[in-house]
Amino acid sequence: MRKTTELAVLAVLTFLLCPGRILGQEDASDHGSVEFGVRLDSGDVYGRPDLPNQPALSTSQFNEYQDVRDGFYVRRFNVKFDNILGTKDYISLKSGNTLYRDQSYLATFGNYGKFKLQFRYDEIPHIYSNTTSTLFAQTSPGVYSYPALIRQQLQAAVPVGTSLPAIIETQVVPQSGGITPQIIRKAGTISFGYNLTPHWNVNAMYFRESQKGSRPIGLIMNSSPSATTSSGYGVELPEPINYFNNLVHAGVEYGRQSFVVEGGYTGSFFQNNIHALTWDNPFRLTNETITTPLTGSMALYPDNHANYLNFAAGTDIGKYLHVTASINPGWLKQSEAFLPYTTNTAINTCGTGAQACNSVAVLPAANLGGDTQTLAMNYTISTSAWKNITLKANYRQYDYNDNTPVRTWTPVQGDAAAPAAGTTNTPYGFNRKDLEISAVWFFAKKSSVKAGYEGLWMDRTDRDVSHSLENSFFVSGDWTPIRSVLVRLSYRHSDRTPDSYQDDQASNPTTGADVTCTNTIDTSFTGDQRCHRRFDEAARLQNRGDALLQYTPFDKLTLSAFGGTLQNNYNIAGGVNSPTPLNFLTGAAVTTDLYYLYGLQKDISYNYGFDGDYALSPHVSLFAEYSREHYYTRMITRYRTPTSGVQTILTCNGCDTANNDWESTTHDPVDVYSVGVDLYLSKKAYLTAYYTLSAGKGNVDSRYLGDPTIAPVLPATTNPNTFLLIGTNAATPYPETVDRNHEVGVIFKYKLTDRLTPRIEYRYQQWDNKDYQTTVMTPYMGCVSPATPGAPVLGCTSPILNSATSPTPLPGAASPFYPGFVVGDPSSARYLFLGVDQPSYHVHIVTATLEYRF
């Protein structure tokens, strides 16, 4: 079939290559080109010697978004004919990666300046992992079944843990079949634009996309996040993806010399052909109870649609004034039928408190009736009434109003709990207003200074901050002191101030009264820490600076250097935060910078680099690039455990004390290096060679901030400042993640004739990946050791931590495959994973093609 398709493509290409004169072209200049040939790749995936099967290169990270494989391929095709049959019409066709899963096509028929009809087709694969396996089988769309015999065995396993891991390791894992979670998007677009007159234009577009495949999703069957040998279950499944996405647009535009107005409609329709995901509990076959469900059910993304109108216009007013405006209202709807609260037949206390939870009749509504309205408006006025000075004022507003009805629900968490008390859904809304005033002074050719102010008013419903104002001042300069030098600088300072900050959950559980950050009288245990701030609403100081220097001493040499930083500081004393430091330790004993809130303290990035291009001669040019980017965040939070009975935070042991604060910082740097050379020899031969290295790594470091000597051994006498960050609660650093991509490329082209150019390309790619979250993944991460000494469970060792009392516990014996990594958690003793990972790879790719121009 594939060979027939290839031959058919060749035949079509042959036909299209011929008819330059047949279609009545005026001259025989180039109409296009086709580049085709063969490609070979050889390499392997490494870094996971523990896996039972060697992952394939074709489904590795190498082919995450592409489809590179051995065989014939048409790298590029491009044909264009003007003046078809003596008319002024033209037609063109382009393709890339023809016949492969990442193929693209673009066909255009038009008349320059009059109309254009265009067809586009694109395929985008996306591979998530090639190390996954499962015993689940999809018996019908969205329904995953598990072999009954194994369910029976797992249910019968003695829960203390002597036989459960053994059954999994001997029955489940070896019998699991390999799968490759991946999706493919196929999108087609047809667009048309027509100039009715030089002033009138009408345009329309239709886009349709399908997404099919699967994607890993984690599912817990418990009301709390654990799946131990005695409580809860969990599975990771390939979520079935079967989407259609349709978009239609129609518009009209009228424009004259200094006036243009346009209007249009855009409709977007999302359709999910699989509405629910239902699966068997692999650890239970019989005897369903409230906490032991036999099945689970999840609502997949519902169908939705959105309709937008857009109106926009621009006009000159007099000689020096220009005004633009745009108004875009939108209507978003969603009314997919609800699933029942649960599939667990043993839970019968929903609705009024005595109704079966697995029936849709008990729901307060059959569907959401989701109704959101948006409104985006923008008005800009600019004037150049003064020589070399431009003033601009811009007002922008965005409204998001969720008018979805509010109802009371009795959700069943994880299909395994009696429903909680009535819970109401909350439709969130916000309104953003932005006013910018700026002035630009063009003081010399290619040189200007710009300064301005921007105010951003944000109003929210049902969040911690109902109103905030952010004032920003910015200045930028572009300077060309001499023709060969360009300097660009910019700086922006922003100050965001919420009117007030009050988390609904930071309230007295008995009276319901708000407990503010500065309240030292109320000693109740609030649902959220009273000084906690969510960074997207919190007070913030932001500074941003960028600089660029370009130097072109002569046409053959260009050098540039750049640098920049974006610094967000949330750690502001007073205002909506605490006016006094929250540190437990003070004075000389303090272990970290003073902090005035919990949550994100700092979010900083900086970048710098340079690049150079040098044409040594008309035949040789060199380039070199380097850039570095570094992200850093700092967060402080507090370990809190609810009080029991009538205790307060002063009469419990460390349930809410600053002595249990901990800090975590993240560092994510990446360095990118590129060097290369382009050679043009005797106008026939072209050679390029380059090397690129992208070296990234990540660190997450955590540590306690308090005094570990305060009642370190549990149970302690009542001490509200008892230190609890020990054992599995300890704050410890994680191993460094490594992410390094090398690429070497050598490409040679030789112009045999005016029409024939063979090309040979060699590339070597190597991607090294080590990630403490995924490199350790196997289908079973339970790490439940036999009660009596025995062989450790494959892939993990025990004990996890060698001291239950230490604030800095050393990891247990490392996995034999990942020194320094400790895998496994008894809280996942009854959780079956897919084993998602993307291991390292290296690959050699040789491509030989022939380009034929016609």
Binding site: T423, N425, G527, W662
Partner: protein
């Protein structure tokens, strides 16, 4: 206390609409009053100086009177230009603009050909050539200001995706159209650029470099970000800068094509549009609260990997407040979303904690 937003004022938007309406009517009426009946040979040409040497003519100084018919007066016709500039003429003829202006003009401006952009050529011809006699030149050595050069382009390209150029960030930083675009010849890509950069198929050949290399010349910070392991398919040529941004200016933040960051992301990820029964507020407001669209070292394009990205906001009690050891189910694999899988919003009646 969770606030209710104050009633939104409709005054400002209504005022804006009313003012704009009057401005538009005034402008339209004024244009109709001064415009003489159009003739096919009439051009709304710029007022180029006819004195020796080009003056800093401003774009607002439009010609008030009718232009001469045919190659008379200050205009000499493209054929005259090509007599000396045959190489450039041949290359220009094969570009889209050349095919329109030299082969298939629809307006008097287009019919001017070379002089539609460079201005009347009579002085240049009488002087026997010379750069100084060309009224409008483009590029680094041009004596014309960036605003003047851009105004020439805007004479024809002021509609559609260019409607919001005036007042746009690039315009206010003195970016000239010719800094990114080229007119006189088709796109030529070096072998190394062709090997290293990919972009979706396009029929736009009027740029100096393909994306993203064109944009990376100034936005060099993005060069490192595009190389990060967790990325949208930029390197594979399926997504590019103009998939989300319009460099000619838009009324939206960051020159996004859509009205907000979320509408932009949801244009491809439409399954996350909602509305949902159970919403996650930072998701509703801004996808960029958690994700970095240009690339990240962390899975799923997260700015900070789980569980820390969740810890930044969640400080209630028990497991959201624990640091989580390396070996914890709340840390390895998908972190918090091992359980809270539908974190962008859930439409399940039991999805209040996004477990369903």
């Amino acid at each position: 206390m969770r606030g209710t937003a104050p009633p939104r004022s409709v005054f400002i938007p209504l005022l804006g609409i009313v003012l704009f309406f009057f401005a538009a009517v005034y402008s339209f009426a004024r244009q109709e009053a001064v415009q003489e009946p159009a003739r096919p040979d009439q051009a709304k040409s710029l007022s180029y100086s006819t004195a020796a040497g080009p003056q800093a003519a401003t774009a607002q100084e439009k010609s008030k009177g009718p232009a001469p018919k045919g190659p008379t007066g200050d205009y000499v016709g493209s054929d005259t230009c090509i007599t000396c500039h045959s190489d450039q003429g041949h290359r220009f003829k094969n570009t889209v603009m050349g095919k329109v202006m030299l082969g298939n003009p629809h307006t008097p401006e287009e019919a001017r050909g070379c002089e539609g952009c460079h201005g009347p050529g009579r002085l240049h011809v009488e002087a026997g050539g010379g750069k100084d006699t060309i009224p409008m030149r483009f590029g680094k050595d041009s004596p014309n200001s960036v605003a003047e050069q851009n105004a020439v382009c805007m004479d024809c390209h002021s509609r559609g995706t260019h409607m919001f150029w005036k007042g746009s960030p690039h315009e206010s930083r003195g970016i000239a159209c010719v800094d990114c675009h080229q007119v006189k010849q088709g796109l030529k890509v070096s072998l190394s650029s062709d090997a290293r950069y990919n972009a979706p198929l396009s029929d736009n050949r009027g740029v100096k470099l393909t994306q993203p290399e064109l944009c990376l010349q100034c936005h060099q910070m993005r060069r490192a970000q595009l190389q990060r392991s967790s990325h949208m398919p930029y390197r594979e040529g399926k997504v590019t800068c103009t998939s989300c941004h319009n460099p000619h200016g838009t009324p939206n933040p960051k020159q996004l094509i859509q009205s907000s960051t979320n509408e932009n992301c949801i244009s491809c990820h439409t399954e996350r549009r909602g509305p949902f029964l159970w919403e996650h507020p930072p998701v509703v407001e801004n996808c960029a609260n958690c994700h970095e669209p240009h690339g990240s070292n962390n899975p799923q394009l997260l700015k900070v990997r789980m569980p820390r990205v969740c810890d930044d906001c969640h400080d209630s009690s028990r497991h959201p407040t624990q640091a989580q050891p390396l070996s914890s189910i709340k840390n390895f694999n998908r972190g918090c979303t091992n359980c809270h899988s539908y974190i962008h919003g859930s439409n399940h009646p039991s999805g209040s904690a996004f477990l369903r």
